[in-house]
Symmetry: D3
Subunit: 223 residues, 6 copies
C-alpha cells in the first residue's frame, strides 16, 4: 500500500497507492512499517499519493463494519500523526490532490507541504459532517495553522485550493501538478543535510503540547 522510492541524497519517498488513501487498519500498518523502514536509513522523507487524492482520511467503509473498534482506531490515527510530529527526520508532504479531514491533518503533521495549484483541496469538513474534532486533533491543527485559519477552516469547513492554502498558511508551495513531487523532494533534499536528531529534538520542543496530546490520546485508546 505504501511504496518506498529512493529520491537520492538520502531522501525517501513514501507513495500511498490506495486511491483515496483512506486510513484502514491495514493502511495504518503499512504506513507505520514504511516509516520503520526509512527511519534508520533515510535523511528526509516525502509522502505523496497518486492521481486525484493525497488522502481522504478515516476509512468510513471499514468503520461501518467495525464500529466497536472506533476508539482504538481513532487512537491509531492519533498515533500516526504523533509519529510524524516526533520523527527524527524532516518530512515533506507532496499533496498531489485532495487532502480532506483526517487526510488534511496528515498533511499538517509534516514539516512542509507542497500542493497542486490547479486542482485538489485542503478541507476540514467536520463541521458539515457534524463530527466534532478530538482535543488532540485540535491541538495538532492549532500547532500548525495561523489562528485565523484554524477558525475559518474548522468552523466553516471552507475548501482551500492550493494557492489559497499557501495564502492561509496551510501549505508552503502550490505548483503545477507535475512539479508537486519534485518540489517536495527539493525541499527534503535541502533538509537532508541537517542532523536528524537535532531536527527532531527542536521540532518536539516546539510542538510539545500537540505531541503530548496526540500521544496521550493514542495511549488511552490502547493504540
Amino acid at each position: 500500500m505504501i511504496k518506498i522510492e529512493d529520491a537520492g541524497s538520502g531522501v525517501s519517498v513514501l507513495r500511498m497507492t490506495q486511491g483515496e488513501n483512506r486510513f484502514s487498519p491495514d493502511f495504518l500498518d503499512a504506513f507505520a512499517a514504511a516509516i520503520d523502514e526509512v527511519e534508520g536509513t533515510a535523511r528526509a522523507v516525502v509522502t505523496t499519493g497518486e492521481g486525484k487524492f493525497y488522502s481522504n482520511g478515516l476509512d468510513l467503509d471499514w468503520l461501518s463494519g467495525n464500529g466497536e473498534k472506533f476508539d482504538w482506531y481513532l487512537g491509531r490515527v492519533h498515533a500516526l500523526y504523533g509519529r510524524l510530529l516526533g520523527l527524527n527526520l524532516p518530512t515533506v508532504a507532496a499533496v498531489n490532490g485532495h487532502a480532506f479531514a483526517g487526510g488534511g491533518m496528515l498533511a499538517l503533521a509534516h514539516d512542509f507541504s507542497v500542493m497542486r495549484a490547479d486542482r485538489g483541496w485542503f478541507c476540514l469538513p467536520e463541521i458539515d459532517l457534524e463530527i466534532p474534532f478530538s482535543p488532540a486533533m485540535v491541538a495538532l491543527i492549532q500547532a500548525k495553522l495561523p489562528k485565523e485559519t484554524v477558525h475559518e477552516a474548522a468552523l466553516t469547513g471552507r475548501r482551500y485550493t492550493g494557492p489559497e492554502s499557501v495564502e492561509a498558511g496551510i501549505a508552503h508551495h502550490a505548483v503545477a501538478e507535475d512539479e508537486v513531487l519534485g518540489k517536495a523532494v527539493e525541499i527534503a533534499t535541502g533538509l537532508a543535510g541537517k542532523s536528524g536528531k537535532t531536527f527532531g529534538a527542536i521540532r518536539r520542543t516546539i510542538y510539545r503540547p500537540a505531541l503530548t496530546a496526540l500521544t496521550g490520546a493514542a495511549e488511552s485508546a490502547g493504540a
Copy 2:
C-alpha cells in the same frame, strides 16, 4: 431507573434501581433527567443503589451490540461525571455496595461518599481488563484521590473495602450496611444550608482542570 425520594431538609435521594446499575444509554438519560428534576428544587443530593451494587459502570452488554457508538457513549459517561462535578448542589454518594470501574468514578465525582463497612469494594480494574483510562478520567481520579492512592488503585487494580477506602482517601466514612444511606443523608443535610451557587462556584474553581477535561472529552465525542 432512578427513583427520587425526599429525605427532608431539602435533601433529595436519587436511588438507582437497576441491579448493577450499569450505564446503559437509557440509564444515563434517566440519571440526567433526575438531576434536571432536583436541580431547581433540592438543596443537596444523595445517590444510592440497592442490594449488592452501587454501580459497576459501563454497560458492556449494550456496548457489545453497539460498538460503533462507543465514542459517543464514552462521551456521555464523561458528561455525567462533569455534570456532577459542576452542579450547584452538594452531592453525597451512599455507596451501598460494589463501586467498580466507571461506577467507582461515579462515586468519586460526588463531594462526599459513605461506604458500607462489611462488604462491597471500590475498585478500578482497568489495569487487569487491559483498558487504559481516558485522560479525562485520570483527571477526575487525580482531582479527588491522594497521589499514592491514584498510583496504587490505577496501577494495581486493588480492591478496597469500605474501611480501607476511608484510610486511602477514597471514601469519607464506612458504616454498617443499614446506616449507609442515613449517614449520607446526614452529611447532605449538613450541607443543605449552604448557598448552592457559591458551593458550585467554589467546587468548580477547585476542580477546574478535571471539569474542563471531562467537558472537553464529552463535547468532542458529540455527547
Copy 3:
C-alpha cells in the same frame, strides 16, 4: 435596550439601542435576556449598535457610584464574553461604529465581525487609561488576534480603522456604513445551515483556555 429583529433564514439581529451601549448592569441583563430568547429559536445571531457607536464598554458613570460592586460587575462582563464564546450558535458582530475597550472585546467574542470602512475605530485604550487587563481578558484577546496585533493593540493603544482592522486580523470585512449590517447578516445566513451544536462544540474546543479563564473569572466574582 436590546431589540431583537428577524433577518430571515434563522438569523436574529440583536440591536443595542443605548447610544454608546456601555455595559450598565441593566444593559448586561438585557443582553443576557436577548441571548436567552434567541438561543432556542435562531440559527445564527448578529449584534449591532446604532449611529456612531457599536459599544464603548464599561459603564464608568455607573461604576463611579457603585465602586463597591466593581468585582461582581467585572465578573458579569467576563460572563458575557464567555457566554458568546460558548454559544451553540454562530455569531457575527456588525460593528457600526466605535468599538472601544470592553466594547472592542465584545466584538472579538463573536465568530466574525464586519466594520465600517469610513469611520469608527477598534481600540484597546487600557494602556493609556493605565488600567491593566484581567488575565481572562488577555486570554480572550490572545485567542482571537494574531500575536503581533495583540502586542501592538494592547501595548500601544493604537486606534485601528476598519480597513486597518481587517489587515491586522481584528475584523473580517470593512464595508460602507450602510452595508455593515447587510454583510454581517449575509455571513450569518451562510452559517445558519450548520448544526449549532457541532458549531458550538468545535468553537469551545478551539477556545477552551479562553473560555475556561472567562468562566473562572466570572464565577470567582460571584457573577
Copy 4:
C-alpha cells in the same frame, strides 16, 4: 502596626499589633515595609500577632467605605501572599490565635506554621459568607494543603483547632499558647543557616503555578 524584633541567630520577628490584624491598606503598607527592612538583613522571618488573633484577613470596615477600590485592594492582598511565597528567606507563622479567611491564607503563605493548641481556629469561611475564592487564592490553598483538606476547608467552612490543623496538614505544630512564638523561632533558627537565595529558588520552583497566579492577579489589578 508591625514591630520588628530580633530573635537572635539572624531571625527577625514581625509582630502584627493591630488586634484582629485586618488588612487595611495601611496595614499592607506596613507589612511590605517590614519585609523590605528585614529582607536584606535577616536570615529567617517569623510573623505573629498578639492576644486572640493572628489575623482575620480582609478589612471589611475599610472596604465598606472604599468599595470602588476593591479590585486594587484585592490585588494588594494577592501581592502580599506572592511576596511571601517568593521571598529569599525562610518564613514561619507563629499563629497565636484566629487565622480566618485571608488571615488563614496569610499563614498558608509561610513555609511553616505553629498554632496554639488550646484556642484559636484556622477557618476559610468563604462558603458561608457566600464569597467565592479568586482563582489565585485557590492556587495558593491547593499548593499548600492536601487535596482532602482543600476540599473540606473550602466547601464546608470547617473550623480547625490547632491539633486538628496539624492532622489536616494545615499547620506543622500545635503547642501551648506561651510556646507558639518560641517554637516558631526555633524552626526559623534551624533554617537560618540555609542559603536564602537557594531556599527562595527551590521554593519558587516548587510553587511556580501559585506564584504566577498570585503575581498575575496582583498585576492585573494594578496593585
Copy 5:
C-alpha cells in the same frame, strides 16, 4: 556495572555494582543497556545496589573534570528518570542503602520502593549544597511525593530513615536488610502478571506532566 539476574516469574533484577553507584556516563550507558536488554524479555524489573549504597546520584568526580559537558550530562540523567517513568514494565527499587540526591530521585522514578529499616537514608540535600533543582526534577518529585513531603524534603534537606520514608510517602515498605531485595522481588512478581503495555500506558497518563518535563529537558540538552 549493572548485573542482570533472573529472579523467576519474569522478574529481572538489575544490580548496580559500583559502590556508591554514582552516575558516570559509563554507568548511565550501562544502565540504559541493561534496560534495553530486559525490556523485551522481562515482565517486571527490580533495581538494587550492594552494601551501604543504593545510589548517591551525580558523579561529582567525573563532573569536576568534564564541566563543559554538564548540560549534556544532566540531560542524560533526566533521560534516565524519564525512561523509567515511561517503561512498559512495572519497576521496583530495592533500596539497600543510601539514596541521596540524584540517587533518591532514581528511587522515586520507580513504581514502588522498599527501603532498609535499620540504616540508610533517603535525602535530597540540594538545599544544603546550594544547588537548586531543575524544573523537571521538581516535576518528578512532585509527581511522586505528597505535598508536605516535597516541601520538607526539598526545603530542609531532611534525612529520612526507612520507616520515616514510609510514613512520609517516599517508600512503600521498610524491612530488615536481608529482606529488602526479597520484598521488592515479591512486589515485582505480583505485578509481573499485568499487561506491560497497559501498565505503561496508565502510568504515562498519570505522570504525563513529569514525563513531558523530563523528556523535554533531556532533549534540549541534546542527550
Copy 6:
C-alpha cells in the same frame, strides 16, 4: 562595555561596544548594571551595537575555558531575556547588524525592533550547530514570532535580511543603516509617555508563560 546615552524625552540608549557583543559574564554584568541604572530614571530604553554586529549571542571563547559553568551561564542568559521581558519600561532594539542565535533572541526580547535594510541578518543557527534550544528559549521565540516563522527559523536556520525579517514578523522596521538608531529612538519616544508600570503589567500578562519559563530556567541554574 555598555554606554548609556540620553536621547532626550526620557529615552536612554544602551550602546553595546564590544564588537560582536557576545555574552561574556562581564558583558552580562555590565548589561544588568546598565538596566539597573536606567530603570529608575528613563521612560523608555533603546539598545544598539556598533558596526557590523548587534550581538552574536553566547561567548563561545569564554565557554571553551569555563565549560563547568555552562549551566549557570545559560541561566544568566535566560535571566537577561526575562529581565527585558518583565521590565517596567518600553524597550526597542536598534539592530545595527547581525543578530545571531542568542543575539537574535536578545532582539526578540524587546518590545519593538528596527533592522538595517541593506546588510546584517537575523538567524537562529542552532539547527546547523546541532544545539537544541532550551524549552525557555523556545517559549520566548514562540511568544514573539508568528507560528510559521518559528517553524522556519528554528528548523531551517534561515538567515533573514532586514526586509525579510519585517515580512516574517521578526522585526518591525527595516531602514537604511544610518536611520536604524533614529527610528528606534523615535519609537521609544512615542512610548515614553506611557505609564511604565502599566506597560510592564500588561506586557507581563501577555507574555506570562515565556516569562515564567525564563525565570524558572534562570533560577534552577542558580543564576
